[in-house]
């Protein structure tokens, strides 16, 4: 069964304190790994897609990396506006096309 596990469940950082979020996965064949940001009461917003081990993507203070079994979302010098839930998802095969299987997310709080 395809599974995605995110850690930690919650993370509190001081403004400027860099850290990383982890996403580990077990899938029969990875077709892609996605990171989303979700603000309270809103739908997830797309951040990155990674397709192969060793791939890296960057956007402002965020950098996503991928290995054969896990992905990291590195946050450098975070600001309070980076506070959100970060969701990881893997693209898995199903009967018609593919589907995204999500982890439970990491709730990030950045204090000024």
């Amino acid at each position: 069964e395809d599974q995605v596990t995110q850690s930690p469940e919650a993370l509190r950082l001081q403004e400027g304190e860099s850290s990383s979020l982890n996403c580990s996965y077990t899938v029969s064949g990875l077709r892609g790994l996605f990171w989303y940001r979700q603000d309270p009461g809103k739908g997830p917003e797309f951040l990155f897609t990674l397709y192969s081990a060793g791939e890296e993507k960057e956007k402002e203070r965020l950098k996503a990396t991928l290995t054969k079994k896990e992905s990291f979302l590195h946050i450098t010098a975070p600001k309070p506006e980076d506070s959100a839930t970060y969701l990881c998802a893997v693209l898995c095969a199903m009967e018609y096309g593919n589907k995204l299987v999500f982890g439970a997310g990491t709730i990030l709080r950045v204090k000024s």
Partner: protein, 112 residues
């Protein structure tokens, strides 16, 4: 550009009442459409997906059903709501199932 609309934003319904949530996509044709549910502290769970008009697939047995009366319209329904149907419902679409999804703004359903 493509946009996805989902309504209502919030809904409070009594147990045993019917449900109808609507999702429409603009600016594209023949989108792949998805309904997800997000329970507190848990990841997004795929409920239904559709790769074309008249084609609906269910991922988990439940009290809900889905329909696609038009190419860009996806409806989530229930004849009689249960307390366990409470949650945050998200509609999503993609043009190609090899890529990630774009999510709507979600509907917060509370069954009382």
């Amino acid at each position: 550009s493509q946009t996805i609309h989902q309504w209502p934003a919030t809904l409070v319904q009594p147990v045993g009442s019917p449900l109808s949530l609507e999702c429409t996509v603009e600016g594209t044709s023949n989108p792949n459409l998805y309904w997800y549910r997000q329970a507190a502290g848990r990841g997004l769970q795929l409920l239904f997906y559709s790769v074309g008009i008249g084609q609906i697939s269910s991922e988990v047995p439940q009290n809900l059903s889905a329909s696609r009366p038009q190419d860009r319209q996806f409806i989530l329904s229930s004849k009689k709501l249960l307390l366990s149907d409470s949650g945050f419902y998200l509609c999503a679409w993609t043009r190609d199932t090899n890529y990630g999804y774009t999510f709507g703004s979600g509907t917060r359903l509370t069954v009382v």
